[in-house]
Symmetry: C2
């Protein structure tokens, strides 16, 4: 019976060259976050369907790969809807599983708990170039740390990791949901309109101040005077020598002084100890779509890549929604697939890669002669060299060309009759 | 809305301690096989349902987690059977995906192709202690190598890996399907009975020679004389000084001399170059259940663990069944989950693990003092130390006890008022 040769629609096969880079990136991530005291955990790829459909996942809940019940539990005749047919599904992110994991295992975990997860997630999105239905996410979360040490450590750990991967000249943009709200309050907008206003504000990059102004008015969020007050704030921050202090002067009455002090401390601590591979920038237009963020929010912007290459923030109310008890939580997600893509496209060379040598053995070489060659290979491997041992093909030239593509630079040929050599 | 806290039935959560060991095992596997020229590849966890149900998977095909069609393609009203509802499923092994991958990508891969796969597979088995519905497999395959260099390299690479993980005193048992057949032919059994005879022979470990004899007779495989001839062969091999030569003397007429020469060469090459952590043993009772094996078969036996800890063999006819063109193939699968379990239960310590230090910072420490502490941590991390930075909890003693369980041996405490120190 013939197989269909193609992978499932929208899913990707990973060939050796990309795998080497993925493995390298995973290794750097695990090593570097490890240095910051993050522990790796893993949850099953399959979650109970009720957990996946708990309204925490937003639009992703429409994209779930659902898994059919099995055995007696599956009854096609009485099934009236999809819900009767399925009992589980593939996870669409690592956050829902993390929250479930934490609520199940908190007693066996330290407080605070610093978790690192690298794993596949699945979304039945419309397939398109560069977007796959199975992709890897990389999330770092600190659960149970109420202080801004969580933010500081997350930003330092993430930027150290990204820098170790060879990136430089990138930005970490930082903001706080409470600053966003204070600015809207200062302008006199209705609180009910805040979410809508922030959706428009989020487009500042693309449509500029005039575009944002027009859209705010068009959507009926406040009057011209309010929009001017609002947008003048952003202009003021952009030119101020000390943007945070300048903003506090204006919107101070709408913002807890402690919030701003803590925010300032994050910015100053990171700046004081950071590498010179990136800048930390206060960006009052940073919104981040997820409605579950309650405080600080941040994003990685890379010049080589138009959009964001990762981001995160504080979500102190999410675990409580699931378990009934709030636990302070803050996370940072790295855009794993984008980073791999950037490295692949830039022709990235893995540093300190072992030398690759290929031994090509003529078909007639047997017995003791073969043993000697294999022993030689074993010895050379012990010195750190990668040694491929294979039979010489009839078309030796083509074989070598193929191997050169795989990074084999040295060839050693073994013949039955030494004269041939 | 409350989450169900437990993972999906039969699936396992992996906590930090086990993850450290898993990550270490994966690292040793990738490093060591890399030295032998194996390249990592990855295929999607989801495969087309037709590929999964192609009769190559044996009983595993009954255990597939099937995935519901989505959108317009799902029509509950016209669906008459399961087949109408699903379009894909979770892979139950890594062999079917490898064969599909190879047939799709052979043009972009070197010949021979040495593949390393480490990935999760899913089987809806009845949950039981130590057996999970999601588990990791680790397969090494050489595709396109007809000569016994494939077997030699697979055995050396696998034993080197297992030895690097600290195991010693284990055995690699080796046999050949063609030797099995020749011995049965020598005894005069019917060829149609061979598969049944081998199923009985496979129980030699458990029921002994007498048990095998009784079962062969009971099942009607040959008469008493034939059974005696057959079982005498095994007794002879067990005591012979040179078992392979002794066996060849007897069953030579039923066995191609080249097969035996090649088999001998595998045994001798491995013995000549192997480490002293294991023995290579010719075991004429080794059967391996999979009917797709065509030649050499082998298995890892570990004294610490009753059963097999991995195994494999040559399957030259399988790719052809899928693609129409035979490709020589030989593989070795390591029992990843069993190895992790053995290491966990033995209290295994990862060698050369970095030192772990925890900085505990009193709540009142802020501003410049905090910056200084973070800078100190960053410096210490650069020297290879794992530095956890966190706020001191009210119950400092409990906090330290928790951290000690996670391997933190050194604590540095920072107070607002230095006198407290």
């Amino acid at each position: 019976m013939a197989l269909s040769k193609k992978p499932t629609t929208g899913m990707k096969e990973i060939l050796p060259r990309e795998m080497e880079i993925r493995d390298y990136v995973i290794r750097v991530i695990k090593d570097t976050y490890g240095k910051f005291g993050f522990s790796s955990i893993e949850t099953p790829c399959v979650e109970n369907i009720a957990n996946l459909c708990s309204k925490q996942g937003g639009d992703n809940e429409k994209l779930i790969f659902k898994i059919l019940k099995r055995g007696e539990k599956l009854n096609l005749e009485t099934a009236k809807s999809e819900e009767d047919l399925v009992d589980s599904g593939l996870r669409y992110d690592l956050t829902v599983p993390l929250v479930r994991f934490y609520s199940n295992n908190a007693a066996n975990l330290p407080t605070p708990f610093k978790a690192l997860q690298i794993g596949n997630v699945w979304r039945a999105d419309r397939p398109q170039r560069g977007r796959y239905r199975q992709f890897m996410q990389c999330d770092i979360d600190i659960l149970g740390e109420a202080s801004n040490l969580a933010e500081i450590e997350l930003i330092l750990a993430t930027t150290t990791t990204i820098s170790k991967l060879g990136f430089k000249g990138f930005q970490i943009r930082i903001n706080d949901r409470r600053i966003l709200k204070a600015m809207a309050a200062y302008a006199g907008f209705q609180e009910a309109d805040y979410d809508g206003i922030f959706i428009t504000l989020d487009k500042m990059d693309k449509i500029g101040t005039d575009g944002v102004r027009a859209e705010l008015l068009e959507r009926g969020y406040g009057d011209e005077a309010q929009c001017d007050t609002y947008l003048d704030l952003f202009a003021m921050v952009e030119t101020a020598e000390n943007p945070i202090a300048a903003l506090m002067d204006k919107v101070g009455e709408f913002l807890d002084a402690e919030v701003m002090a803590s925010f300032t401390e994050i910015v100053e601590s990171v700046r004081a100890t950071k590498a010179d591979t990136f800048e930390l920038v206060f960006d009052p237009t940073l919104v981040r779509g997820m409605s579950y963020y309650t405080g600080t929010i941040f994003e990685i912007a890379m010049p080589e890549f138009g959009g964001s290459c990762g981001g995160g923030g504080r979500y102190d109310k999410m675990i409580g929604k699931f378990t009934g008890t709030d636990v302070p939580a803050c996370g940072f997600s790295i855009g794993f697939e984008r980073i791999v893509l950037l490295l692949l496209e830039s022709g990235f060379q893995i540093p300190n890669e072992e030398k690759k040598v290929a031994y090509l053995i003529e078909k007639g070489v047997k017995g003791q002669a073969l043993c000697d060659i294999i022993a030689k290979a074993q010895e050379e491997r012990k010195t750190g060299v990668k040694v491929l041992v294979e039979r010489m093909n009839k078309n030796k030239k083509f074989q070598k060309e193929q191997l050169q593509k795989e990074g084999y630079v040295d060839f050693v040929e073994f013949y039955k009759d030494p004269i041939k050599k």
